[in-house]
Each structure stands twice: as C-alpha cells, then as structure tokens.
C-alpha cells in the first residue's frame, strides 16, 4: 500500500465524510431539539437527490443551480412531516416514536418506487464534471464541490444557530423545553423549524450527491446507519460534533475498506459504532 493510495483514501474519506457530516447535522438538530431519532432521515436525502435529478432531467438545470429550490422543498416537507405525524407522537412511548419514523421511512421509499420506479437514475453531465489532480492523486470535481458545499452549509447553519435570535430560541428549546416555553418560545414552532432544517440538510446533501451518486428509491439506506454512527460519535445534539465525527467516520470507512476490503466498509463503521456505544455513549461533544 503506497503512500499515494493512502493519501487518496484519506482525502476521499474526508470528502465523503463532509457529506456524512451534513446529513448527520440534520439528524442531530432534530434529536437535540426534541429527543426523537428520525429513522426516515435517509429518505429526506433521497428526496433531495430526486429533486435535483428531476430539475436536471426536465429543465436541464444542474443540481448545484437547483439546490436552493431543492433545499426549500425539503424544508417544507420536513415541516409538513412534523405537523402531520411527529406532533402526535411527541409524548408517546419510545416504541411509538421509533415505529412512527420507521413507518415514514418505508412510506417514503414506497412512494418513490411508486412515482418514479425502482430504476437507477443519474445526472450524466453535471456542471462540475471532471477531475482534479494533486500530484499523483486524482479527485472527481463533483466530490470536491459536494464537500465544499457541505462545509459551507454546515457553517451557515452553525452561524444561524449561534448568531441569530431564532437560532438561540432553537438552542434554548433543545436545552430546556419548559424553561424556553416559560420565556415565551413556542415549542411547536421550534420543533417544526428543527424538522424543516433537518430535512433541508439531508436534502441539500442529496442534491450535492446527485452530481456523482446514483439516484434510486432505496439510496437512503446507505446513509441512515452511517448518519446514526456520526451523530453518536459526535454527540447527540452537537453540530460541531457531527461535523468532526462525519469526517472521522468518512475516513474510517474508506481507509477501513482499503485495509479489509470494500465489502466490509459498512461493517467496520458499525463496529466503530458499537465501540463508541460501549466506551463513550455520549460521544465526543455530547451533552447527555
């Protein structure tokens, strides 16, 4: 194994890790604000991919161009999901919460299959097509653009949460719901916002991925488990944690696949997951 290959793997891992980070940031916002694990999160990503794909297929708009619209669409979807389903299970036993979001996962996959058939789609000629060479290592431009996009969005989100009033209200609701309500913050509105932002993050990640990743109804399954691992490693509710953990997990996945073989990539990440759960369940920067 040459240094080149290792370097290539490392950097590939970071790039995909940034995408994982973005997906996980969405998941961790939802969990941080309302203690619900969204098993349907991968499907928000899937819808983001399809949104980008259809803008491309029907109106020849590159995924990066249609990204704001995809983001908005997913934000609205997240808010709708909250009001139609999640609102009713906030106080329900954990089993109900798990199964409600699980049901949503299956529902979304079924709808995607029904509406758009199970075929694999792809954006053939993205704006960012091409490769970039750094010495002897090569990178696809779409991947780099996606990674850069992920960093920007995560940063924007972090600024939103720490520098704006609404962001502060969201953090307050996450820290102590009752105290926030006593200060006049409408908890339901915060929850809806969390779902909207969470879905938008996953949707944006999907739109970024659409330039180089195949689009099909079950694509979310590839990301949901990894998103869990990232959120757990970073600490439930911590955006910074999700960011750094995403990069770590991306690197572990790619380098692990290099060492043990690509068929074991997911297994290695999951073993890491179990190790974290055993040693430090609250993750790197977690609160609980």
């Amino acid at each position: 194994m040459t240094a080149d290959i290792l370097l290539q793997s490392l950097l590939s891992g970071i790039l995909i890790g940034l995408i994982y980070a973005l997906v996980a940031v969405g998941l961790t916002i939802i969990f941080g604000v309302m203690d619900i694990v969204n098993f349907a999160h991968g499907e928000f990503l899937m819808f983001g991919m399809y949104s980008a794909f259809w803008f491309y297929a029907l109106w020849h708009l590159d995924p990066l161009v249609s990204l704001p619209v995809s983001a908005l669409a997913l934000f609205i979807l997240g808010v709708l999901v909250f009001f139609l389903v999640i609102r009713r299970i906030i106080a329900a036993p954990m089993l109900s919460q798990i199964f409600a979001t699980f049901g949503l996962m299956i529902l979304f996959r079924g709808l995607a299959q029904l509406l758009w058939k199970p075929d694999f789609r792809a954006v053939d000629k993205p704006l960012t097509a091409g490769t970039v060479a750094l010495g002897s290592v090569q990178f696809g431009l779409p991947q780099i653009a996606a990674g850069a996009g992920a960093v920007l969005i995560t940063l924007a989100l972090w600024l939103f949460l720490t520098r704006t009033r609404i962001g502060a209200a969201l953090e307050a609701t996450a820290a102590d719901r009752e105290a926030a309500m006593l200060m006049g913050i409408d908890a339901n509105r915060m929850f809806a916002l969390a779902w909207g932002l969470g879905a938008a993050c996953a949707g944006i990640a999907g739109a970024l991925l659409a330039s180089f990743f195949p689009v099909y109804p079950e694509v979310g399954a590839n990301f949901i488990l990894i998103a869990f691992v990232v959120v757990n490693l970073g600490g439930f509710g911590s955006i910074a944690g999700a960011f750094w953990a995403g990069i770590i997990v991306g690197v572990v996945e790619v380098v692990g696949g290099l060492i043990a073989g690509p068929q074991f990539k997911l297994a290695i990440v999951l073993l890491l997951f179990l190790a974290i759960l055993s040693i430090r369940p609250q993750g790197l920067l977690g609160r609980k």
């Binding site: 919460q97 068929q263 369940p281």
Partner: protein, 327 residues
C-alpha cells in the same frame, strides 16, 4: 379480563385447537397451506421477540440475527456434517443464545434509542459477515439437500408436515412465554421495563435478567429460523438476516399487543393477511403500493394504537367493566 370469560375459555380453546389441527385437511391448496404456515412462523418469531421486547421492554430491531443464526447453523450442520435437524436446531438455539450473551454484554448498558440502534448495527454486521463467508455460501446462499427426507431430516415434499411443525413450534414458544409470564421472571421483566431504577433498589440485577430474556428470546427465534430453512430449502443473507425481517418481527408483536401472550399471534395473522391481499390484488408492478400500505399501517399503529389490537380490546373491556361500578 380473561378470568371473566373462564367458563367459556376451555371449550372454546379445545374447539380452536381441533380446528387448527384439522386445518390441512380442509385447506387443500398448497398456496393456502403455505400462507397458514407463514402466519404460524411469523407468529412464533413475534412471540419469541416479545419475551425481550414486550415483557422486558428492550426493543430489539435486529432480531433476524438470531433466527438467521439458527437457520445457518441447522443448514450447515446438515449439509457439511450430515447431522439431523433434531440436533441441529437445538444447536442453533444454543449458538444464538451464546451470540446473545456476547451482544447483550455491551448493548444492555444502553437505553432506549441507543439500544435499538445498537441492535440494528449488530444485525447488519452479522449479515455482512455471513454475506462474505464462503463456507456458509456467502452471497449465493445455501441450498438444502432433498435427497434425505422424512421425519429424521425434517424435510418433506408436501406442506402439511411443515404446518404441524410450525404449529408445534408456536405452541412450544407460547408455552415458554406463558411460563415466563407467570413466574418471577415475568415480574422481574416487567419491573425492568417499567422502572429500572426501582427494580435495582429491589435487588433485581438489570444486566442479568435482560440477558435471561435475551437468551430465551434468541434461542426460540433460532428455532424459528431453523424451521424456515427446512421449509424453504434455501437460505441466503437477505432472506434470513435482513433488517426488514427484524422490523417485521417487532411489528407483528406491536400490532397485536406488545407484552401480551397472544398479541404477536394476532399481529401475525393480520400482517400476513394484509401482505397476501396486497400482493394478490396489486401484483408485482404495484410494489410501491404495498410498501405504502404497510407503512401507513405502521404509522397509524404507532400514533393511534401503540398498545396494539389486544391493548385496544383490553382497554374497551376495562371501560365496560368500570361502568357498572360507577352506578
């Protein structure tokens, strides 16, 4: 609740038993017999899951790992060493229980969502493991030999013997669940589910009893997996180790009534019925549609009927019983 109906219970139960035993005689078509067998097998897996998930409240979403271990153990012992399933299946049960001990040790320290996610992760790892293990057929899977058949090998040409095997296994599983429910184990499991801190203050070792629940649950699930292998005569990771199967097993118990004895049986009957009718009505092209229906079912149970069918029935009976007292 059941006590009030007691005078009717015994004759009704006997009649039901007779009907169940005679079923293959009047349900002639292999497709219908197959459906009945599937229902029984799903019910059995659901009852097994329920011991850990319903009684002890530890929601496992990776239980296919245990039925899968049972299926693979029985199959491998049969194919590679010529060992009859009468020994292979119990061996599979032991293997699953042992796996449960290994899995439980780190996982039972976790609560709630964390535990559920850990079980998904474990099952996925096991599925990936088997999918890449050439000795066990890797992704291609294993096909059971049909040259040896009959009651020694538990491989049959017709469906009827499998029906009785499935019925017998379900009866055994229900018996174990019933015995657990009535013994101190049942009380301890419910205590752990309701309030782990209070249980500890009464000397109940949480890890120890969760492990007991898991050992029973995993062993029984493995027996179900072994039966699946013997019936289908072909196993591969997606058919016996998939997350989809894990979810279905949990769903069956939740649909019927988590924590009740017969809940999973009712849930299995309903779920299998729904799956079959959507499959026949909508066919292969409507694959998206049956997923949607399945999903809407799951969501509505989660939101409106978390106690499942038996829970809903129980609540209505309790309301009716409370009314005379209010007069």
């Amino acid at each position: 609740m059941i006590r009030r109906a007691e005078p009717l219970a015994l004759p009704a139960a006997l009649a039901l038993l007779a009907a169940l035993l005679a079923l293959p005689l009047w349900l002639r078509s292999p497709a219908h017999q197959n459906l009945a067998i599937l229902m029984l097998m799903m019910a059995q897996l659901g009852v097994a899951w329920n011991i850990l998930g319903g009684y002890a409240g530890q929601i496992s979403l990776g239980h296919a790992a245990f039925s899968g271990i049972g299926a693979y153990t029985t199959t491998l012992l049969l194919m590679k060493a010529g060992i009859s399933p009468w020994i292979g299946a119990p061996a599979g049960a032991l293997a699953a229980a042992a796996a449960g001990l290994v899995i439980g040790w780190p996982c039972f320290r976790l609560s709630g969502h964390y535990f559920a996610m850990a079980t998904i992760a474990v099952a996925e790892i096991i599925q990936i493991g088997f999918g890449n293990w050439d000795y066990a057929g890797a992704a291609v899977g294993l096909t059971l030999p049909i040259d040896r058949d009959g009651w020694t090998w538990l491989i049959f040409a017709s469906k009827a013997p499998y029906y009785y095997l499935a019925l017998g296994l379900l009866a055994l599983t229900l018996l174990v669940a019933f015995a657990v429910e009535r013994s101190f184990l049942g009380y301890y499991f419910r205590a752990i589910k309701d309030d782990p801190d209070a249980a500890r203050s009464l000397g109940v070792g949480l890890a120890r009893y969760k492990q007991v629940a898991l050992a029973l649950s995993s062993a029984l699930s493995a027996l179900g997996g072994s039966l699946y292998a013997l019936k289908e005569l072909y196993i591969d990771p997606p058919s016996v180790l998939s997350t989809g199967l894990s979810i279905k097993v949990a769903l069956v118990a939740i649909l019927g009534g988590v924590g009740t004895l017969f809940g999973p049986v009712i849930g299995a009957a309903i779920l299998t019925g729904i799956e079959e009718s959507t499959r026949t009505l909508l066919g292969g092209s409507g694959r998206g549609v049956d997923l949607v229906i399945y999903a809407l079912l799951i969501i509505s149970i989660a939101v409106y009927y978390p106690a499942g069918v038996l829970g809903w029935v129980g609540a209505r009976l309790r309301r009716r019983a409370a009314r005379p007292a209010a007069r």
